[in-house]
């Protein structure tokens, strides 16, 4: 353990038991018998929530060889974290990303001492402040002033510290006038501002932040990010969990990507973000480079239609393996359908890495969906996207009525750079998303004269 480590995590595991599924009964007698028997069953289920004796043979997710493994591994147990080890240096600002259920929040909760690990250990050097929510403990009947003290002490401040910084906190929130009004009379925006203002004046050496920025309007989020950035620059250690990839990229030089309770990747944030987004799209196939998506199986019983293949072609309908800015291209959608839809429509969405939808290509009712296996083409002349990685979604719908099939994260889509503006460097998605066609020139003399005189 080196001296510069603020947080050392060793072999951390956490087991959760999800409640057993509720039983359903077809008959009154069945329901009655179970009603009479249920207290004992309920008691067992509730007691089991906190006992993991049946998995005692397992150690951190790995079975030890010399012991007999349980005959059937209990099905209602989840490893929220599995043997996670890492180290955070003092002053490091670290992002934690991963899909829902990847274990990010569990990890943060263990570090914040809200829940205990099942095995493994964490060593922390420094005062820890955790911000898993803004406004924890706010009581609507108390005034702003009272809530500042309450919330502040809950977050780990001493009364003296709050006394000293009270004016600062109130000024930052911008609600001086209402500080002695009960918080329930506040607008939700005011409440969040006051709550964040308290949190922002916390001065721990290690700060744990979870999705706090998910609340509030865009303006508030910008303010939060600014404050976070400030904290990071002061040399504090920050662990930041977010689904906001832009925030991760802006604040954290390095990130951990968690998946299924394990660390999948550790490294520069842009790499981690890319991996994370790619994991979303289903590109696991070994087909030709121009095929972005392929799922050729038959239609499921409850499926009327589906997209079976998505490929990129050039305007002469030859496979197009590399797409560059301003290329002409065709997105060919192969689909299967069990019945005709006269008002069917085809939709292709383009997303950027922040999961923001950039463009929707919608066929309207021009082309019907036909029974069997067919394909349609979406022709895109002069693709106006800067170089970078994009994400494609696609769907089939009854126009303006219902989705027949939809997948928002179907495939990743690479656009290679091309110096279309003759600037010596190609437009890249880090600087801009759209490479819109345009030209520059000095206005012709006649026009300026008219403008100034008229």
């Amino acid at each position: 353990m080196s001296n510069s480590a603020a947080i050392t995590v060793e072999g951390l595991s956490k087991l959760y038991r999800i409640g057993a599924a509720e039983q359903r009964h077809e008959t009154l007698v069945g329901a009655l018998t179970s009603f009479l028997k249920s207290p004992l069953q309920n008691y067992r289920n509730l007691r089991k929530l906190s006992q993991f004796d049946d998995v005692a043979q397992e150690d951190g997710g790995r079975k030890t060889e010399d012991r007999p493994s349980p005959e059937t591994p209990p099905s209602d147990i989840i490893w929220a974290l599995k043997d996670v080890s890492f180290e955070v240096k003092h002053g490091e600002v670290l992002g934690l990303i991963g899909r829902n259920g990847a274990g990010k929040s569990t990890l943060l909760k263990i570090l914040a001492r809200i829940t205990e690990p099942s095995s493994g250990q964490v060593v922390m050097h420094g005062r820890v402040g955790s911000l898993l929510e803004v406004g924890t403990g706010f009581h609507p009947d108390l005034t702003g002033r009272e809530n500042v003290y309450l919330n502040g002490t809950i977050l780990g401040m001493k009364k003296r510290e709050i006394d000293r910084r009270f004016d600062e906190i109130v000024a930052f929130s911008g609600i001086e006038k209402f500080i002695d009004t009960p918080v329930k009379r506040y607008s939700s925006g005011m409440r969040v501002r006051l709550a964040f203002s308290v949190a922002a004046h916390l001065e721990p050496e290690i700060l744990l932040v979870d999705e706090v920025l998910a609340v509030g309007d865009a303006d508030f989020q910008r303010k939060c990010l600014g404050k976070m950035d400030e904290v990071a620059k002061q040399g504090r250690t920050v662990l930041f969990v977010s689904h906001n990839m832009e925030a991760i990229l802006n604040l954290c030089p390095t990130s951990y990507l968690l998946s299924g309770g394990e660390i999948e990747y550790h490294g520069p944030s842009d790499q981690a973000v890319n991996l994370y987004l790619r994991a979303f799209s289903r590109t696991e196939h070994a087909g030709a480079a121009n095929v972005l998506y392929e799922a050729d199986g038959p239609l499921a019983a409850d499926q009327l239609t589906k997209i079976s293949r998505l490929e990129i072609l050039d305007h002469d309908c030859r496979p197009k393996e590399i797409t560059r800015t301003w290329d002409d291209l065709v997105v060919r959608i192969h689909y299967a359908a069990k019945q005709d839809f006269e008002h069917g429509s085809f939709i292709v969405d383009l997303f950027d890495y922040k999961q923001e939808r950039l463009v929707v290509f919608d066929s309207g009712t021009r082309i019907p969906i036909r029974t069997g296996r067919h394909c349609v083409d979406c022709r895109i002349p002069r693709l106006p996207l800067a170089a970078g990685e994009y994400f494609l979604g696609a769907g089939l719908a009854v126009s303006n009525a219902q989705w027949l099939w939809r997948e928002a994260n179907l495939a990743t889509f690479q656009v290679q750079g091309k110096d279309v503006f003759a600037l010596g460097r190609p437009p890249e998605s880090r600087r801009m998303i759209f490479a819109a066609e345009h030209s520059w020139q000095e206005p012709c003399l006649g026009n300026t004269k008219n403008d100034t005189s008229g």
Binding site: G60, S119, Q121, V123
Partner: protein
């Protein structure tokens, strides 16, 4: 993966000096988080560190309770006062329950004073963890504060209701005995009992919500089991000592003796009550500390 560590959570690696550093050189807290095994009693160092929070949580409880009411803190008097009237009519007048020759209203109010405190703080303490879920699943602080907050905040009500007792004593021209100096001992016993039971029941209730539903009639039963509406003199002498194991028996009889002064101080009851209260408090704290690690998981 290190093997099973026989450990307690949050072992302060460098004891004393680091945590209690002076203002000028801020201490560098250094602690270990790992799975805890076995039993552990209260971490006093931590309680001291978080004392400001305890203060504000109690303050919140006190200020919030009577917000947006017309009568405000008068409710602290009205609750035992109306009980006294009902009891005086039903048990004193109609059922003619003996009261050791003391006027029934003051006989019952002297008992209702500690009883109202006990029953209210116990009920609220039992529900405290369930209601505090939103807080303790988001931030760490000593969980023991949660059931203790109502136990402390209800003391304010107790103090206000006490004023009413003084008024009644003046009205009935009752002079307290010299035993009144032992009142703090009785109050301590009452608080300890409520704390111990509150720890037990709140920790049970967070996992088994049945406790929350059962608490209201359990409190009813406990009230009739306590000498609130009847005097302890009704208990046959050979059972008296055993009966003393119920701490509120000693507390209530002690209150009557100290304030009304008709009977001698029931030291036998108080002694037995102290023993059982100490056991309840100790086991309650142990059980709470043992189960607190799973609170956030089962809540």
């Amino acid at each position: 993966m290190p093997p099973q560590i026989p450990a307690s959570e949050l072992t302060s690696q460098s004891p004393g000096a680091e945590r209690t550093g002076t203002e000028t050189s801020p201490p560098v807290p250094h602690f270990v988080i790992r799975a805890r095994k076995g039993w552990q009693i209260v971490d006093w160092q931590e309680v001291v560190e978080y004392r400001d929070l305890l203060y504000f949580l109690v303050l919140r409880d006190v200020t919030v309770l009577y917000k947006q009411t017309v009568l405000g803190f008068a409710w602290a008097i009205l609750t035992p006062f109306f009980s006294m009237i009902v009891f005086s009519v039903v048990f004193g007048r109609l059922a003619k329950v003996p009261s050791d020759g003391i006027p029934y209203p003051i006989f019952s109010y002297a008992a209702l004073l500690p009883w109202t405190y006990f029953s209210q703080s116990l009920t609220r303490s039992t529900e405290s963890l369930i209601q505090g879920t939103a807080i303790f699943t988001k931030v760490y602080f000593p969980r023991l504060f949660i059931p203790m907050v109502p136990v402390f905040s209800k003391l304010v009500d107790f103090a206000i209701a006490f004023l009413m007792l003084i008024a009644m004593m003046i009205y009935y021209r009752v002079v307290p005995s010299a035993n009144v100096i032992f009142l703090p001992v009785l109050i301590l016993l009452m608080v300890a009992t409520a704390s111990g039971l509150g720890m037990w029941l709140s920790a049970l209730a967070i996992q088994y919500r049945d406790v929350k539903h059962a608490i209201s009639f359990v409190v009813q039963i406990l009230m009739y089991a306590a000498p609130v509406v009847w005097p302890v003199s009704l208990i046959p002498a050979q059972y008296r000592l055993w009966y003393g194991l119920y701490p509120m028996a000693g507390v209530i009889e002690g209150f009557r003796s100290a304030l009304i002064g008709k009977n001698p101080m029931p030291w036998d009851l108080i002694g037995m009550g102290t023993i059982s209260a100490a056991i309840i408090l100790l086991t309650g704290a142990l059980y709470f500390r043992r189960t607190e690690r799973i609170f956030a998981d089962v809540a």
